[in-house]
Amino acid sequence: MHLLRLALKSLGNRRFSAILTVLAIALSVTLLLAVEKVRTEARASFANTVSGTDLIVGARSGSVQLLLYSVFRIGSATNNIRWDSFEHFAEHPRVAWAIPVSLGDSHRGFPVMGTNHSYFEHFRYGRSQALQLSQGQAFDDLYDAVLGADIARELNYRLGDEIVLAHGTGAVSFVDHADKPFRVSGILERTGTPVDRTVHISLEGMEALHVDWQQGMPARGSARIDAEQARELDLTPKAITAMLLGLNNRISTFAVQREINQYRGEPLLAILPGVALQELWSLLGVAEKALFIVSVFVVLTGLVGMLTAILSSLNERRREMAILRSVGAKPRHIFGLLLLEAASLALSGILLGLGLMYLGLWIGQPLILAHYGLFIQITPPGLYEWQLLGAILCASILMGSVPAWRAYRQSLVDGLSIRT
């Protein structure tokens, strides 16, 4: 106990280099923890986003791409699927339910998704949890919109507020649908998935927005159709982006998948969400490993910095050691003193790093969610994190034994004589 006090006071006497050392360790620890946190949370978040969906169907492209745009709103579809294809499979005898997904518009950077009531009824996330409305109701009128929890919170929307949707998915859009504003009819409970950042409208509403559009541009002059006129028109959509299917019996998953992939109406792709996720992980696995190795080396660099700082201080501290020896410190006290010094530096670095990591998470959480649709949960460090931190502490004590051993040898040679 007394040695620890001496070690801390001695460090305090060299506080400038001690603070720099602690900072270097802290930053490296932050990096390692953040990389691991994002890695595990990304997996958990991706895995939580969709549940209970047996097949995802879209235009023929890559399975990972289809998964990313249909569920995570990352990237965009290369092509649409025709409405009659949706109807064909929605009414398939082996299909229990089908959710249409129509993407492409946005509201202040948040994606807009056209769908129908079966979305609220059948969509599941996490551990088979259904969507819940915290206020209001699902869309009833053509121009009703249901907001995800984050949008309502961030943009401070209440039931009945009018919102204008924009064409395209960018945060800044030059073309908006100001002629057909939507009314907030419901706000969903928080899910921790991209649903929280999605504006949900009906497929018909989606169709109405674009009913007077020609070749990707809004109509001009007399060709315009206003919001009320649109109500009179047939608003059955011509195409959607993707559909989520739930089957009556999971055993038939592969049979239905094959049938969709061989559909003669148009080229379609059906994927199993779990399989596509696995594919995504195996793609990311190499990058994850590389990141992990890099951050481990950064931690080692931090610890080597500590080693350098302590070793270079030893020579100018021979006097300190000799004084301690003369008042009765044994060589093993000197050894312990140096070891405690290394351990205190590392422990402070680890704790500061942990603090920085949580600060970073707290700041970065909404940004990551906004940009990547990833919800990083802020949870206390788990067993894995403690193991990592324990390993860092052990490594630092191991490294600290190098200067400790040198000081031990030095104090045996120097004895009580003070050398400068």
Binding site: S10, V327, G328, G415
Partner: protein, 237 residues
């Protein structure tokens, strides 16, 4: 008063691969004695102090401290023996810069149980033991006690070092040129304070210096060169 504090008998020492540096036939320091040992630098003075501290062991002969043959103790026990029974004052820079004045004085009691118990037998706390010693040595001002030790004058630092050597009343105080950084007037004043406190603590004093003018103040004066047969042998060559 029965055991001599230091007893050297036919003791020799040589650094590895070098000729014999010290060869002392007989040297005794009785309890309560204040002995002046004169030796110019390079005369093996520092090595002798290391031998008396049990940091090195003699090549032959005996060193007995309080009747205990140091060579018969393990290095750990020698360290403990030194901590328990010997206080040291060095030439200068005796103090740890990161500890307060009082903490510097208390330091030996942290490493030696015997000295802690002795200090506590006469004082309610280690801090009070330290403060009383410091007060006797002319460092009573509370404002001074709060100053960082690096801001003290050298004379003040040496008095703090003396208090540290004396706390817990060790049987032996070894002073290695403690006055060489002081001017002539403060040397005598410092020595008088040191003598008084050694007397009060019942400690014997071995004072090593090259400054012969101080010799008259001690009970007895010796010259290391006369004591050391190896030194005269070298002169002959």
């Amino acid at each position: 008063m029965t055991q001599p504090v230091i007893q050297l008998h036919d003791m020799t020492y040589a650094w590895p691969g070098q000729p014999t540096l010290l060869d002392i036939h007989e040297f005794t320091l009785q309890a309560g004695e204040k002995v002046f040992l004169k030796g110019p630098s390079g005369s093996g003075k520092t090595t002798l102090l290391g031998l008396l501290g049990g940091v090195y062991l003699p090549a032959s002969g005996h060193i007995r401290l309080l009747g205990q043959d140091l060579a018969r103790l393990s290095s750990v026990r020698r360290d403990r023996f030194r901590a328990d029974h010997t206080g040291y004052i060095f030439q200068m820079f005796n103090l740890l810069p990161y500890l307060s004045l009082v903490d510097n004085v208390i330091l030996p009691c942290r490493f030696s149980r015997i000295r802690r118990q002795r200090a506590l037998a006469r004082h309610p706390s280690l801090e009070q033991a330290a403060c009383e010693l410091l007060a006797h040595l002319g460092l009573a001002d509370p404002a001074l006690l709060r100053r960082p030790v690096t801001e003290l004058s050298i004379g003040q630092q040496q008095r703090v070092a003396s208090a540290r050597a004396l706390i817990g009343s060790p049987e032996l105080v070894i002073a290695d040129e403690p006055t060489s950084a002081l001017d002539a007037d403060s040397r005598e004043a410092f020595l008088k304070l040191l003598f008084a406190e050694c007397q009060a603590a019942g400690s014997s004093l071995l004072f090593v210096s090259h400054d012969a003018s101080l010799e008259r103040l001690f009970d007895r004066g010796l010259s290391l060169q006369q004591l050391n047969r190896a030194a005269s042998a070298q002169e002959v060559i």
